[in-house]
Every structure is written in structure tokens, then in C-alpha cells.
């Protein structure tokens, strides 16, 4: 390099160095200091609308899928049931798709019946076997499901219903079943109406655990939120009466502990105050005087002073609770499990319905807003929808299930089909479904997981998760508007599973039976066709495919906002004609003098009846009231516990006339001293590693007593005794036992 070029290069280097130095100095420290946006994917993925199947409430959901995998489930904002909201179980549903315990291939029983030993078989063989069995089972087939009103039940009914001696039974939630049962006597439609919590200013919850086990927790939670704070200047007030301060009661303003089984009496007592007030204030002029006079007479024995001792609320307080039902503001009484779960359940539900109606009728005189009950016409629609599904609108009760199980034990059935229900675990052990199943010739079970019932089957048919399959469903309880829910596969099947509907149709086809459709999708499209033909709610100009796509993208059909006219409940003739039904008998309880405590079983928001017990998310989510995780417990009033020298975590044996279980004690101030409370859903034995041997199954404790009128399981009418079992366990509680009393630190 010569001198000149050296100078040139040098000058360029120097000047560029100077220029570079003049530039902006990096002031921001970027890479490791700023959060790297947590790696947002360039693609949001796809959102598909479908319907949640974690319970039978029928909430609409949208599912986010990325790269063919379901990532997150959210509420469908336009759906009338849940309005974009979801409960914990719904949120956790996606965990079931990718669960390590999922059944991945059909299994054929290998060992003795009920031994739980299986060998994998091909789908072809499984379907052929099922077809063969169905073909040879004329006159002795049953189909058992969880009462989810879906098309699988419809298809089963359509195929098997043609055979003589076909039985269809339902293993309902005990809490929900009673709701079907009640109210029928006073209402035109077969269940207790949806109370209009949303517009009420005062709500009286009579044992109604509406956020836990009632008709639809999400719908009620929405209404609750709206009643509390959606209206300017009006804050909905809620009062809870019942034997345990449930998480619903915790959200209310006041809790009255009422002895188990006497809530119906309380309802009548309040009705008494209302009726007397109507009469004394001279409001009765235009109301049918005769009826009022009759009621007043019938209710005389329910005067607050007379029942105060029974319900353990002072007469004066009962009158104060009744005041909102007389006053201007809309008030509603909501009946729930703690009324329905006793031998006088239907009477209690009727009493609450009566209270609501009387209060409404008085209000109507003054043209006040009052609880909007489900319009009768919509209920008709529901029945029609069920008919399209191929489902008979018959009432499925526990009595029906019991008859089925008795017949099974008698060896009456050659073939049984079980679809996503676990009666061995979640019906009373005294019903002994397990033994009964052993007497059935051939049991085929559709399931996602091996569980106590599936392991008793002869053929296990792994079903799609509901995110992978086609289905349609009608919600069990319709909140004011008719709803037809559709389910579509939002992801490809993750395992080698097949939809129960398709398998049933294929097997029936193999057996040479007449089948209503080739597969589930076609069956649903046929329903939609019928629906369009009869309802004409969807734009008739749309082609068949376009209409179908519209429905799928929405997640189902329901009337749009504008189409929903606030319907007024017509004056109820049944009410005015009512004579001698205003009576709630004292409850009868199982167990004699040796059993001093009432057994109060309940469903927690996370476990339900136990289907969620194999999900880590739900096991680890602390129970709202006890804040316990991963275990079951026995709730007792601290006074009761100290009587037996029990402290938290001590093991206690709870004995009923039907059996006994041992579980740790959780002293809880929000429970009556004469009540022992145990959550359902724990104590699985064959439901995978996460669920197994976790706590005790309290279904061992209760008998098969029923409400004589409705045939619903009286699941709270059992009495028990407790005994210190010795030993103790660590309670996995989220709240510190002292800290939980220090809420004042936040000055809430």
C-alpha cells in the first residue's frame, strides 16, 4: 500500500468513525431487559364455536386452536346461556383432551367379568362385536347416560328404541334431578322455572347452591353479578337459608342456618305473611278473594310464630324476610338442593313456587316488574327439539334408574350401552350398580377414561372428546329462550378414538338394523333440516350448506336479541284452583337414634360429582369455601368437632345405616352443629393416577330413599354418626388457619 492510498483509507476510516460516534448512542438496553413480548405467535390460530359438555348446562364456547391443537376454551359471547363466560370446569375441559390417561384404543375384556383386565382390539373387531351383540339382544337392551340430551342418546333411541324391551335411563346429578321433579304440580312445564335473579332486588335463596350444583352455575353467576351491580342505584340483596354456608351463601349478604328439611316450611311461613298482608291491606279486591281466603286458612298453621321453633328463625325475622315479597321491589325466592334433597322435596319446591307466584300476582296488580319465568311456549319448543333428536320427552328420574338396576340384577338384560356416565361411582353404593352390571350379558361403555364403571364393561369404546366430535344438544334448563346447541370437531382426533354416535350407527349397520343416518354429522344435518322446515327462524333464502355453516359458526341456534320478547307469565289457573297442596310435611330421615347428625352431601364447584377428579387443574384449584386441594374432607361445626376432641386433619369415621367412610375433619363455622357435610367427587378407585385413592366417596353412606312424589333421590335424608378414627393427615389448605380470620387487614 502506498502512502496515498494509506491516507485515503485512513481518512475514510477516521471520518466514518467520527460520524459513527456522532450518531445516537443506544440508550435503551434491549435484549435481556425488555420482556420479549412473551413470544407472541404471528398467528392467533383459529377460533371455533362449539358447546361445552362438561356438564349438561349447555354453555356455548369458542375454542382457540393453533397448529391443530386446542389451546384455550372461552365462553361464546353471543350465547344466551353463558354470554361469553365459563366456569372452572369448562375452562379445564381442554386438559381432558390431552390427558395422559385417555383411552386410546378399543379394549375387550380379557379376564373374568369385572376384573378390569382388558386387551386392545381393532375398531373393526370392536364394532363387529357390538353389532353382533346388539343384533342378538332383542328385547333386553338398555342405554344409560348422564342426561345430556345429545344426539348420541337420540341415535340410541332411534336404533334401539325400535326393539321391544329397550330401556333408556339417566344417571342425573342428584341436585339437578330434583329440580326436574319439583314445580310440576304448579307449573305447566316439567321443572322449576328459572327465577329472574337478574332483575330481582331481593333474592331469597332457600338452600339453592346456584353457583355450585344448581341448574346452570354460569347463568346464575351472570344473573347474580347483574343483580348486584348492573343497575345504577340498585344493589340486589340476597339472603341464604340452609344448613350450610355454601360458596353461594358466602356471596349472599346474610345466612340463616335452618334445620335440614324445613326450608319448605319456611317458604310457606313467608307465604303466610304475604297472604295475610294482602288480605289486611285490602289488596285482595281484584285478586280472587276466594283463593286468598282458602290459602289463608291452609297456611294458618305456618304463621311465623308457630314455625319459628321448627325453622329456628325468630318470628319477627321471618316477617322481615317476607317484607320484600310484599313491598314494591321485585323479589324472588329460589329453591335448591337443600329443599329438594329430602323426602318432602317436591312439597318444598311447590311451596317456593307458590310463594313466588303469589308475590308475582300481587305485584302484577300494580304493574311492577316481577320475576320473568320461562315462557311456556319455549318449553314446548324444547320438547319439540328433543323429539327431533329422537328423544322421548319423558321424565328421567332416580326411580327409573333404580328400576333399571333392579332389573339388571335380576338378569333381565343381555346388552347394555353406557355413555359417559359413571354410576358405579356416583350413585349410592347401596344401589350396587357394580354387581348389577356383572349380571348383564354384555356391557359396552363409551368413555374417554377408564373409570369405575368402564372397568366393569366387556367392551370399552374410547369416545372422542367433545372437542373432537359432532353433536347437538338441548340444555336441560333453558334460561328464558329456546336453545339448540351444536358441537363440531374443532381439532382432529388426538388419539385413535371414534365418536360414540358413529360407532353406534356403524354397529347397528353391521347388525343389519335400520339406521337413521350414516354418521353423526349427517344425523345433525337432518335435525337442522327439520328445524328449518318447522321453525323457519334462519333466513330461508340461505342454501342448505350456507345455513348449516351459519349455525356452526354461531355454535347453534337461539333467537336473536330482537326476537326475544320479554314474555309475561300468564295468570296461572293452577295457582288459583289450588286447594289442599299448601302443606309441607316434616321430613323423614333414615337412621334411628344412633345417628344423631344429618348428612349433607354437596358438589363443589370444581369436582362436581367426580368427573373432574382426574384433572390436575381442578384438583389443585382450591375449593372456594374450605380452600382445600387434592383431598376430601368432612366438614363439622367446631363445636361438634370439639365434642369429639377433633381438630383439623384428624381422621374421623362417618357411619350411616348404609356404610361408613373415613376422612379428615375440617371444622367450619358455617355449618349447623347438627350437620356433617362431605363433598362429592372424591374417593375414586379406578380413575387414573390423579384421582385414585384421594379421599373417600360419600356415596357409600346414603341409601336409595326417594321423594315419593317425584322419584328423585332424597340424597340428603340420611343421618349419620361420627367417631374419632385416630390418626391425622396434613390438610392441604390454601388459607392459613389463623390468617383466614384476618380479613380486616384489607379494610374491605
Amino acid at each position: 500500500m502506498d502512502r496515498r492510498s494509506f491516507l485515503k483509507v485512513g481518512a475514510v476510516t477516521a471520518s466514518s468513525g467520527v460520524l459513527g460516534a456522532c450518531g445516537q448512542v443506544t440508550k435503551k438496553v434491549i435484549p435481556f431487559v425488555t420482556r420479549p413480548d412473551d413470544g407472541v405467535n404471528p398467528v392467533d390460530g383459529y377460533w371455533y364455536a362449539t358447546t361445552c359438555a362438561e356438564c349438561n348446562s349447555g354453555c356455548g364456547v369458542i375454542v382457540r386452536t393453533v397448529n391443530g391443537r386446542a389451546k384455550k376454551i372461552e365462553g361464546n359471547a353471543v350465547h344466551p346461556v353463558n354470554g361469553g363466560k365459563l366456569c372452572a370446569k369448562g375452562q379445564a375441559a381442554v386438559q381432558r383432551v390431552y390427558h395422559r390417561d385417555r383411552l386410546t384404543q378399543p379394549l375387550m375384556r380379557k379376564g373374568a367379568k369385572g376384573s378390569g383386565k382388558f386387551e386392545p382390539v381393532t375398531w373393526e373387531k370392536a364394532i363387529a362385536t357390538l353389532g353382533e351383540k346388539l343384533a342378538g339382544a332383542e328385547g333386553s337392551v338398555f342405554y344409560l347416560n348422564s342426561g345430556n340430551n345429545d344426539i348420541t342418546a337420540g341415535v340410541a333411541n332411534a336404533i334401539l328404541g325400535k326393539m321391544s324391551g329397550f330401556t333408556m335411563a339417566t344417571n342425573h346429578d342428584p341436585g339437578k334431578e330434583s329440580q326436574f321433579a319439583g314445580g310440576a304440580t304448579l307449573n305447566e312445564y316439567p321443572h322449576t322455572p328459572y327465577p329472574d335473579l337478574e332483575n330481582a332486588e331481593f333474592s331469597l335463596l332457600l338452600g339453592a347452591d346456584i353457583f355450585e350444583s344448581d341448574r346452570n352455575p354460569v347463568f346464575f353467576a351472570r344473573s347474580f353479578g347483574a343483580s348486584r351491580r348492573d343497575r345504577p342505584s340498585i344493589r340486589g340483596r340476597l339472603v341464604y337459608c340452609g344448613s350450610r354456608l355454601s360458596s353461594t351463601a358466602a356471596s349472599c349478604d346474610k345466612w340463616f342456618p335452618v334445620p335440614p328439611g324445613y326450608l319448605g316450611v319456611l317458604a310457606l311461613s313467608i307465604a303466610h305473611v304475604v297472604v295475610e298482608s294482602v288480605i289486611s291491606r285490602g289488596l285482595a279486591q281484584s285478586i280472587q278473594r276466594n283463593a286468598l281466603g282458602r290459602w289463608s286458612e291452609a297456611l294458618a298453621e305456618y304463621a311465623p310464630e308457630k314455625v319459628a321453633d321448627k325453622v329456628e328463625i325468630k318470628a319477627e325475622l321471618i316477617r322481615r324476610i317476607a317484607r320484600p315479597f310484599i313491598d314494591e321491589a321485585p323479589a324472588v325466592a329460589i329453591a335448591g338442593d337443600d329443599i329438594a334433597g329430602y323426602s318432602n322435596g317436591v312439597e318444598g319446591l311447590d311451596a317456593v313456587a307458590f310463594l313466588n307466584m303469589v308475590s308475582y300476582e300481587i305485584g302484577r296488580e300494580k304493574l311492577r316488574i316481577k320475576p320473568r319465568h320461562t315462557p311456556v311456549s319455549d318449553q314446548d319448543l324444547k320438547q319439540r327439539m328433543l323429539a327431533w333428536f329422537g328423544l322421548a320427552p319423558e321424565k328421567q328420574t332416580f326411580r327409573r334408574l333404580k328400576e333399571l338396576v333392579d332389573a339388571m340384577s335380576a338378569g333381565k338384560y343381555k346388552v347394555g350401552v353406557i355413555h359417559h356416565t359413571n354410576p358405579v361411582f356416583d350413585t349410592p353404593a347401596s344401589l350396587d350398580v357394580k354387581t348389577a352390571l356383572g349380571k348383564v350379558g354384555f356391557v359396552a361403555a363409551f368413555a374417554n377414561f377408564m373409570d369405575e364403571t368402564t372397568s366393569q364393561a366387556d367392551l370399552v369404546l374410547p369416545d372422542h372428546h367433545w372437542l373432537e366430535s359432532w353433536s347437538a344438544q338441548v340444555p336441560n334448563f333453558v334460561p328464558g329462550v329456546p336453545v339448540l346447541n351444536l358441537r363440531q370437531p374443532v381439532i382432529r382426533p388426538f388419539n385413535d378414538t371414534r365418536s360414540a354416535t358413529d360407532v353406534l350407527l356403524a354397529a347397528a349397520g353391521k347388525a343389519g338394523m335400520k339406521i337413521p343416518a350414516k354418521n353423526g354429522e349427517e344425523y345433525i344435518r337432518k335435525i337442522v333440516d327439520k328445524f328449518r322446515a318447522e321453525m323457519l327462524e334462519i333466513d330461508p333464502t340461505l342454501s342448505r350448506d350456507a345455513a348449516w355453516r351459519t349455525l356452526l359458526s354461531k355454535g347453534g341456534w337461539w333467537p336473536s336479541e330482537e326476537e326475544q320478547e320479554p314474555s309475561e307469565t300468564p295468570s296461572n289457573d293452577k295457582l288459583w284452583a289450588m286447594k289442599n297442596r299448601l302443606k309441607v310435611n316434616d321430613p323423614s330421615f333414615e337412621g334411628g337414634s344412633g345417628f344423631p347428625y344429618h348428612l349433607h352431601l354437596y358438589q363443589t364447584v370444581h369436582m362436581g360429582r367426580g368427573a373432574g377428579a382426574n384433572q390436575g387443574w381442578l384438583q389443585e384449584a382450591p375449593d372456594p369455601i374450605t380452600t382445600l386441594m387434592w383431598q376430601s374432607w368432612v366438614e363439622m361445626n367446631p363445636a361438634t368437632a370439639s365434642k369429639y376432641g377433633l381438630i383439623e386433619g384428624d381422621l374421623v369415621t362417618v357411619t350411616s345405616p348404609h356404610g361408613s367412610i373415613t376422612a379428615p375433619v375440617f371444622p367450619y363455622v358455617g355449618i349447623r352443629p347438627d350437620v356433617i357435610s362431605i363433598p362429592l367427587g372424591y374417593g375414586h378407585t379406578e380413575y387414573g393416577e390423579i384421582a385414585n385413592n384421594r379421599g373417600a366417596n360419600p356415596m357409600k353412606l346414603i341409601g336409595t330413599g326417594m321423594d315419593s312424589q317425584s322419584g328423585a333421590l332424597a340424597w340428603r335424608s340420611c343421618k349419620v354418626n361420627v367417631k374419632k378414627a385416630g390418626g391425622s393427615v396434613v390438610m392441604l389448605r390454601s388459607a392459613h388457619p389463623e390468617g383466614e380470620y384476618k380479613g380486616e387487614i384489607f379494610q374491605l
Binding site: 438496553v29 434491549i30 390454601s734 388459607a735 392459613h736 389463623e738 390468617g739 383466614e740
Partner: protein, 497 residues
């Protein structure tokens, strides 16, 4: 000090050449049996009654003679250390879940132990520099042992942050190194102050220890060369060719003095900053202004107690009765009583303020302490008060057995104090819902036990490699406090440094 004396002292202590072991002070009464020596005015229990050769032999014996018991001891320590290391390695690979910590108790026994070791480190250097600066004559034999303790307890303490953090392999993020990742530590964090303070203190303490060692290294080097011992290799290097010249001594003295002053300033700041790890937070029970001085006093308290324990042990093991005298223990005990009084006062202040104001979130912690750790509290507070009473008696102060147990009790109490500062506060945080309890896991126990073994191990190795008694200082003391015969009378010679 007169120049003559200095020269004499240099000649005596330098130990240069082959005749270094010859005591150059023939007029000094050379030996007196310490036990049978009649108490005589003008003499003091601190005086050393050995000839220089005897003295050198005596103090260097641990260096050059090793008994099988030593190896067994070190092997035992090695096993405990290996156990701790094993558990730590497992924790490193698996995760900190191996400890007993959980939300919201994020700091547990590790941090308590860290504070304990940092506290222990305050004895040595602080004691040594205070005593140097105040020219307390009795300090001389204990300086080395105390300084070594500082260095080693700091080394042990320095491990704990590493053991404690979640990602020990990323701990260099805390170093202020310019780098491609543009990482820069947050100097607003008390942990960074802590990191710096401990770094500085460790550097200072090790320098202080090393500078003090130089003349003694030279003596040991000469012996090692003479006896062809393998230690000559490193002693040659480390002695830096010390010859004992006038200039060397002059620089040495100045250096010691400067370092003493500097260390004296650093040491309280270090433990103040350690206390700020706690006090700077807004956590009730930690957020208090008294923590700075309280920690410093606590540190000195535990440190002095540990020095006494160590002295008694060394004296017993290496037969140093002639060098470490009852007076030394007595004087240290007096210092300990003073510090114990101050510490108890601080504890009282801290408690009294919380008790009187009774702020719920703060009182909850003390209530919980009383409930859960009542035994610990008795050992800590009761022990401290009891010690103050006991040590008021001269007989107790001069009884080696009594002092051994008293100082051990003090350090148990101080360990408990650190534990009670860290743990109950975190188990009973502001948010009462998250209250919790804590018990260290076997991993924590093993690692902490390993840290004690590690400390003892370092010390044991040190003793075999370096002179444990501050020979030069002692000799200087002998020189400047010897007798001078004036006619029939032996007159006490008092020369100030």
C-alpha cells in the same frame, strides 16, 4: 518506641539467617512456669515466659508436626463437607424445591446462615484492628486466629448466595461486566450493595491477614528451608523475601496501621449493608431503622464469642497455654459483656417499639415468634442475659470450661437470632392469607452443616500451612513490656508503639 528498642525488636523478630532463633535479650528473665509463678507486681498474666527459641518452637510446632488425629479430624470434616456438597449438587440439578422454602417464605435457613457467617467474620478483623488501634497489649497472640476466622467465615458466607439463588449458573448477571447481552446490574438493589460490600471486605480482610502474616512467614520459611520441609516452596513465595530490615518493618507497621483503620471503617458498613437486605424492604418486622447498628453489634457479639471459643479450642489442642493466657480470655470476655449489653439493649429497643405501638402486622410476627419459637427465644434472650450475669464474675471469665460453653451458647443464640430475623417475618407477611410455617429440609441441614465443616476444614488447613500465633506481635509485646533491671529492682518497661 525508642530507636534502640525498635532495632532490638527487629533483630529479635526478624528471624533472619541461621541464628534467627536465638533470643537477643539476655537480660530478660526467660522462663517462668505460668502455673507456679507467684503473682508479682509488675507482671501480668499476659506475659510470655518463654525464650524466643522455645516460643518459636512452641508456636510453629503445629505447622511442622502433624498427628494422626489431625488427619482423622480432617477426614471427618471432609465427609461432612462432601455430604453437604452432594446435597447441594443435587439441589442445583433438580431445583430449589429440595429446600423447605415455599411462597411467601423465599428466604430461609440459607440466608440465616449467610448472615451468621458474615456476622462471625466481624470479630476477627474488627477486634484485631480495634485492639491494634487502641494498643491493647493483650491482643497480640489472638490476632492471627481472629483474622483468619474473618477470612474463612467470609469465604463460607460468600458461598451462600450461590447456594441460595435459583439459577446459580447465571449468577454472573450480578457482575458489572460490560457484555454483549447489555446486562447491567441494578445498583439500586441492596443485594448489589451487599455483593460489593462483601467483596471489598473479603479483599480487605485477606490483605490484612496476609500483611500480618509476612514476618511470621519469614520465620517459618527459614525453619522450613533449614529442615528441608516441603512447605518451603510456598513459604518462599509468600514471604516475599522478607528479611526483617528496618525499612521493611517501617512499611509493615504503617501498612498494618492503615489497613486497620480502613478495615475498621469497612466492617460496620458491611454488616449494615447486610442488615439493609432486610431493612430496605417494606416487610413488617424487617423494615426498621435499628437494623443497621443492631446487626453490627450482633455481628461483633457473635464474632467475639467465636474468637473466644476458637482460642480455647486452639489452646487446648496445641497446648498453647503459655501463649494464650487466661488474661486474654478474661479481656475478651469483658469485651463480650460490653457487647452483650449493647446487643441486649438493641433487642429490647426493637421489641419494645413493636410491642408498644402494637401495629398488627408487626405484632403478629412477634406473637408468632413467641408461639412457635419460644424455646429458641429463651436460648437467645435468656442465654444472653444469663451470660452477662455469669461473665460478671472474674472466676467465670477465667475459667476455660465456663467460657467455652458460654461463648458456644452466645453463638447458638446468635444463630437463632438470624433465623428468627429471617423466618418468622416471612412466614407471617402482610397478607395474612398467605401465612405459613417453615422447617428446613434435609438438604438445607446438610448444606449448612457442610458449611460449618468447610469452615473448620479451612481453619485446619490454615493451621498446618501458616503460623497460627501472631509471633512477631507477641515478640514485639515481649520486648516492649519486658523488665529492665535497675539495680535490685526489676522495673516494668512500658513502651508505646
Amino acid at each position: 518506641m525508642s530507636s534502640e528498642n525498635i532495632k532490638r525488636s527487629h533483630a529479635a523478630t526478624a528471624g533472619a539467617g541461621s541464628h534467627g532463633d536465638v533470643m537477643a535479650l539476655p537480660e530478660l528473665e526467660t522462663y517462668r512456669d505460668p502455673e507456679t509463678m507467684p503473682a508479682r507486681s509488675g507482671y501480668d498474666d499476659a506475659d510470655i515466659f518463654l525464650s524466643e527459641k522455645e516460643f518459636n518452637d512452641h508456636t510453629l510446632r503445629p505447622l511442622f508436626t502433624t498427628t494422626p488425629a489431625y488427619f482423622i479430624f480432617v477426614l471427618g470434616l471432609g465427609i461432612v463437607m462432601a455430604n453437604g456438597l452432594g446435597w447441594f449438587t443435587y439441589q442445583l440439578f433438580v431445583g430449589l424445591g429440595q429446600t423447605g422454602m415455599h411462597e411467601p417464605l423465599f428466604w430461609g435457613a440459607y440466608i440465616a446462615t449467610f448472615v451468621f457467617w458474615v456476622g462471625l467474620s466481624h470479630s476477627g478483623t474488627i477486634v484485631s484492628s480495634i485492639l491494634r488501634l487502641t494498643q491493647a497489649n493483650w491482643r497480640r497472640p489472638i490476632l492471627r486466629a481472629a483474622e483468619a476466622m474473618t477470612a474463612f467465615s467470609l469465604m463460607v458466607a460468600g458461598l451462600f448466595p450461590l447456594i441460595h439463588v435459583g439459577r446459580a449458573w447465571r449468577v454472573y448477571y450480578m457482575f458489572p461486566l460490560p457484555n454483549q447481552r447489555m446486562l447491567w446490574p441494578n445498583f439500586k438493589s441492596p443485594l448489589m450493595w451487599d455483593f460489593c460490600a462483601i467483596g471489598i471486605y473479603m479483599t480487605g480482610s485477606i490483605t490484612f491477614l496476609y500483611i500480618g502474616l509476612l514476618p511470621d512467614l519469614a520465620v517459618a520459611r527459614d525453619r522450613a528451608i533449614a529442615s528441608n520441609n516441603w512447605r518451603r516452596h510456598y513459604l518462599k513465595v509468600l514471604a516475599l523475601g522478607w528479611r526483617g530490615s528496618h525499612r521493611e518493618w517501617s512499611v509493615y507497621n504503617k501498612c498494618s496501621l492503615f489497613l486497620a483503620v480502613i478495615i475498621l471503617c469497612i466492617a460496620p458498613s458491611v454488616h449494615t449493608i447486610v442488615s439493609w437486605d432486610f431493612a430496605m424492604t417494606m416487610t413488617p418486622g424487617w423494615h426498621t431503622t435499628i437494623f443497621g447498628p443492631y446487626f453490627v453489634v450482633g455481628a461483633i457479639y457473635s464474632g467475639i464469642a467465636a474468637v473466644i471459643t476458637l482460642m480455647i479450642v486452639l489452646r487446648w489442642i496445641f497446648n498453647l497455654d503459655n501463649v494464650i493466657r487466661t488474661l486474654h480470655i478474661d479481656c475478651l470476655a469483658k469485651l463480650l459483656v460490653t457487647i452483650a449489653l449493647i446487643w441486649t439493649y438493641f433487642y429490647f429497643c426493637e421489641f419494645n417499639v413493636v410491642w408498644y405501638s402494637h401495629k398488627p402486622e408487626e405484632w403478629a410476627i412477634f406473637e408468632w415468634q413467641g408461639e412457635r419459637f419460644s424455646l429458641f427465644l429463651w436460648i437467645m434472650i435468656g442465654g444472653s442475659v444469663l451470660n452477662i450475669f455469669l461473665m460478671s464474675w472474674r472466676r467465670v471469665r477465667r475459667s476455660m470450661v465456663a467460657m467455652f460453653f458460654i461463648t458456644l451458647l452466645v453463638n447458638c443464640g446468635m444463630y437463632i437470632e438470624r433465623y428468627l430475623i429471617v423466618v418468622p417475618v416471612l412466614t407471617h407477611r402482610d397478607n395474612a392469607y398467605m401465612w405459613t410455617d417453615y422447617f428446613p429440609s434435609i438438604t438445607e441441614f446438610s448444606v449448612i452443616l457442610g458449611s460449618f465443616a468447610y469452615f473448620a476444614f479451612l481453619y485446619a488447613i490454615f493451621i498446618k500451612l501458616f503460623p497460627i500465633v501472631t509471633m512477631a506481635d507477641v515478640k514485639e509485646g515481649v520486648l516492649i513490656s519486658g523488665d529492665m533491671r535497675l539495680g535490685r529492682h526489676a522495673v516494668r518497661l512500658q513502651v508505646k508503639e
